[in-house]
């Protein structure tokens, strides 16, 4: 019986490779459209295949590596006490909590890297290694990898490159193994941590603080993140995080936004500056409300 099953597997796999070459496993793809096709139409195989496919929709996730750089450019300072202590890494028991914690620690690592805190970088790389192993992300944050970082720790650019390459590898491996919901939680954890750092450093009584503007801008990323989480067919795994983010969105939606159209500009290096200029206004109490909401959400996930 087992041999027969294996025979079927081999045959089908073999056939599949030669018949269609490559498949598509993007879970964020839209469901097939209900296009009506006249069965009498004389269409060839190529056309048939095309009729059956809908436009693919990707969702871009926020990157904790980008967020850390933006924080630094907005006048943030380094304060290690704001980070999730690496000793917390042993306390996460479910894969949901581990994935979110991984995102949080990647954000902390990126923040430490932005401020050239090399010893903290090493500490958080080790924490990320531990959690990655627990999430079955193999051959990325290996001992050899950590050793290479130790050797190059004084080069901020090298560490940034190792960080971005390894984070990309982790995301790619999760996608390859059809664990994109885990990648979504990692990104959500990283996003929350970046926001927590900004909320901890902003002056809550000064809505014109550059960090207040960075916080307001996050409403755009938040909207995309929620859309992505909702795109999964089995939302149970993501339910708690989705609900938390939706609640946070109601606070973000109170921020008023004005859009001013701009024409494209090109600088002397040929770099184009595009898009509208957006200005944000916090109604009284809204910034404090967001800060409080972020604190509650983040506290729950770092426990």
């Amino acid at each position: 019986m087992i041999f027969k099953t294996i025979k079927y597997i081999v045959l089908i796999t073999f056939f599949s490779f030669f018949a269609i070459g490559c498949g598509d496993n993007t879970p964020t793809q839209n469901p097939p459209t209900d296009k009506l096709v006249d069965p009498d139409l004389d269409i060839n195989t190529k056309d048939k295949a095309r009729f059956q496919r809908a436009k693919i929709v990707f969702y871009a996730l926020p990157s904790p590596i980008e967020t850390a750089r933006i924080l630094k450019k907005s006048g943030a300072i380094y304060n290690k006490s704001l980070l999730n202590p690496s000793s917390n890494a042993t306390g996460y028991s479910t894969s949901v909590r581990k994935a979110i914690a991984l995102g949080i620690f990647v954000a902390d690592l990126s923040y430490a890297n932005s401020f050239k805190q090399q010893q903290d970088c090493l500490e958080y790389f080790a924490t990320v290694q531990k959690l990655s192993e627990e999430l079955s992300l193999s051959n990325i944050f290996t001992s050899e990898f950590i050793e290479t970082i130790e050797k190059n720790i004084n080069s901020e650019d090298s560490v940034l490159k190792y960080l971005s390459d390894s984070y990309w590898q982790a995301n790619a491996q999760l996608k390859e193994n059809e664990r994109e919901s885990v990648a979504a939680l990692v990104a959500a954890g990283g996003w929350i941590e970046g926001l927590h750092i900004a909320c901890s450093l902003v002056n809550p009584n000064n809505p014109s603080d550059p960090l207040a503007e960075r916080i307001a801008e996050q409403r755009i990323a938040l909207k995309q993140l929620i859309k992505y989480l909702l795109s999964f067919k089995d939302p149970k795994f993501l339910q708690e995080m989705t609900e938390d983010l939706k609640r946070l969105k109601t606070s973000f939606d109170k921020i008023e936004m004005k859009i001013q159209r701009q024409t494209k500009e090109i600088d002397e290096n040929g770099i184009e500056t595009v898009g509208s200029v957006k200005t944000y206004t916090y109604p009284p109490g809204t910034l404090k409300e967001i800060i409080a909401e972020v604190k509650v959400i983040r506290s729950k996930y770092i426990k």
Binding site: K4, C22, R69, L160, E176
Partner: protein, 146 residues
């Protein structure tokens, strides 16, 4: 029991197939695309899929002010040389068209943090003379620098 075996075999076959396609796509992106982002730093997020000729894909991406970006779209050679992308704002204004610019990347920055829509199109490959539509990996990658 026999039916169960068939079902199991088909499921495992499809799983192997999809994983293999994704693994190929990952390798392609790693070798052929990411090195071309230099001097920009890859933001660590992965956006790739296997497209058939004639397919199009949309991606909404958030770009932050204060950073310079390189947005790049790479496609496997099996899809031909016609794969191109456009970037639009939320009002539908086309900000970049790779076909007109004749390059597969765009270096830019935004006035304020905002979403832009990246549309990738893989036109029918006239070089493909078979009845089976060609399919290949398409990767949208983003690099940033301060």
């Amino acid at each position: 029991m026999k039916l169960l075996n068939y079902f199991l075999a088909i499921s495992i076959g499809l799983l192997i197939l999809s994983n293999s396609a994704q693994a190929q796509c990952k390798r392609f992106t790693e070798k052929q695309c990411l090195p071309n982002l230099t001097p920009f730093t890859n933001n660590g997020q992965i956006n790739n899929a296997t497209l058939f000729e004639g397919d199009s894909a949309n991606l909404v991406m958030t770009f932050y002010s204060l950073l310079d970006y390189r947005l790049m779209v790479c496609s496997h050679e099996v899809l031909g040389t016609g794969v191109h992308f456009k970037v639009q704002d939320n009002d539908g204004n086309i900000l970049f068209n790779s076909k007109e610019a004749q390059k597969n990347y765009w270096d830019f920055r935004v006035n304020s943090t905002q979403d832009l829509i990246v549309s990738v199109n893989a036109p029918e490959n006239s070089g493909n003379l078979t009845d089976i539509p060609a399919s290949g990996c398409v990767s949208i990658i983003l690099g940033f620098k301060e």
